[in-house]
Symmetry: C2
Subunit: 341 residues, 2 copies
């Protein structure tokens, strides 16, 4: 072997000292060359940069973070992986943060019991801030982060009374919108299907939908089911309702996939005609909702606005940790297609 014992010897880390030596300056000069706006002569900077280039030097961000006692890491806690809309939020947030010079440390929320631990690990890495996608944080965690001056923003959840910032949809407003839409089109028997019962947004929808319908003469909420999430669950659910004689003439689903399951269940399993016999409303306006075989009426998810507000709130608190928590509830609207009369 030509390279004998050298096999696997990893190149020694190149530090600012190496660059300083080659450029014939001090390490401080190297540091200044890599610090935007630092006080350094153009010629010195040029020589440093040249030396850095020939050596392939990259500043060690870890050392810098330790020294400055702050990092440019943002922790992102992610739930809701089965929702393309939320994954988009993750993607775009990470892309946008990158343009602001931040890096994303991603953590998947496997188990809600472990959130405390998850946040603890993020804090060990001295993250500058935390974004949480579709989950809420225990109050103790929020308090600990506040104590450390690490801002938190919840996305797609509110976390009422927990003391964090949040960006989500206004479920109460949306519930009224759905009620009016159905009443106007002369529906009489409305069913609402959603996933986890503890999600503030969908709870709000069903609550205000229910309230609004209670004020009418002849339109009622005939079913309000939870733990119905996804295509199979939706298809099973409409089958069970029909079998049990519930027979709704309109179904609102908290998720487009569920709604398409209801659509297929009604059509394929019972020969119902949509929307003549049954109107179906989804939520999220995922790509599938627009496909020719579904043509689902659904609720728009204002993704870009959600992201914009999230970043605004987060970045502002990264600048000034003293800002109070802020909750922003966005209004959205229908995308009407062929699944409703």
């Amino acid at each position: 072997m030509p390279d004998g014992g050298l096999t696997g010897i990893v190149a020694k880390q190149i530090t600012s000292i190496d660059v300083a030596n080659l450029a014939g300056v001090s390490v401080a000069a190297v540091s200044r060359a890599f610090t935007p706006g630092a006080s350094i002569a153009p010629e010195t900077k040029r020589r440093v940069m040249e030396a850095a280039k020939t050596l392939g030097y990259q500043p060690n961000v870890i050392a810098r973070s330790l020294n400055q006692r702050r990092s440019r890491l943002i922790g992102v806690l992610m739930s809701g992986w089965n929702n393309f809309g939320y994954v988009d939020v993750l993607r775009i947030i990470s892309e946008q943060l990158e343009t602001q010079g931040y890096e994303v440390m991603l953590k998947s929320i496997l188990d809600r019991e472990k959130i405390v631990e998850n946040v603890g690990q993020l804090l060990q890495y001295q993250v500058a801030g935390i974004a949480v996608v579709s989950e809420v944080l225990p109050a103790e965690v929020t308090a600990e982060c506040a104590r450390r001056g690490v801002p938190i923003v919840l996305v797609n959840r509110i976390g009422r009374g927990l003391g964090n910032s949040a960006v989500s949809l206004d479920g109460l407003h949306l519930g009224r919108l759905i009620a009016d839409f159905l009443i106007e089109r002369r529906h009489k028997r409305v069913a609402a299907l959603r996933g986890r019962a503890d999600i503030d947004f969908t709870s709000d929808i069903v609550q205000s939908l229910s309230d609004r319908l209670a004020g009418t003469e002849d339109c009622e909420l005939v079913a309000s089911l939870t733990d119905v999430l996804g295509y199979e669950a939706g298809r099973r659910s409409i089958n069970e309702m029909i079998a049990n004689g519930v027979e709704p003439d309109a179904v609102f689903c908290s998720y487009d996939d569920t709604a398409i399951g209801v659509l297929d269940g009604a059509r394929l399993d019972h020969g119902l005609e949509v929307p003549r016999d049954l109107s179906v409303i989804g939520n999220g306006n995922r790509a599938v909702a627009s496909w020719g075989s579904h043509e689902l009426t659904t609720i728009e998810y204002p993704r870009d606005e959600i992201i914009e507000q999230t970043l605004r709130i987060l970045l502002a608190r990264l600048e000034d940790p003293d800002l109070e928590p802020e909750t922003r509830l966005l209004e959205t609207d229908f995308v009407v297609r062929a699944s409703t009369r």
Copy 2:
């Protein structure tokens, strides 16, 4: 204001010195208490942990990384966000790495021109390894990482001759499988639709499919189109083929959504009957493929095996950076449903 000038004062960082003082031990003892397997008396450890708990101490991983000259950060470069299968890969890889004590630094590949820069930023954070989902890296980048002893694994891409490890599907094998499937069912005119032309996996499929069909008497590849990705593109594509008189009796699509677009185009726009007039094959076995209104025959994506091999290759090289790069091509198979005869 009761708290006067103290508003916004952030709690001072709690360090191992604070804990050592409270517990009446040295900082080294604190370090040992938090180092699994370190040589420390149980009683000492107990006192340290107690002090740490009352102070709310968390070790500063940044300082540890600097000291040890290695981090437990893994960079994940992500492309293919529009593919649920690949997003699952991201999710599970991050979850699994976490159980191994690693953290994921996520970077989205916005622009392939910027990959060099992206990897550079990861290296500044002293990542221990890099996983790349559905993209290839320039040879220079691979070389630089090799020089530093930072292992790279490509997922869903091969990157032939670039010197990295990779886990992907065996496209050549799959092309033969598809050819045999179609020949056996007496198809005569096959079309293949895929997205980006430079993806090694789908190129391999079409290549070997084409080769195999060329060896038959009466079955030919009548069209091989690129840049056809997604529902709309698939629907448009089948319309154009029919308008141009190509009239395939079987279409393979590199992506399930594309295939469903073809399905809807054939049925809704041309009144064709599937599979009598046209067989459609997708790829990925996404959830939509199984839905009642589509019933798409497709290629299984062996997600768990992909992830398993990726982690095996990556973790082994994290332990021993001297290991040679390894490429693993997995074989997969059909999920036959109602869209093929």
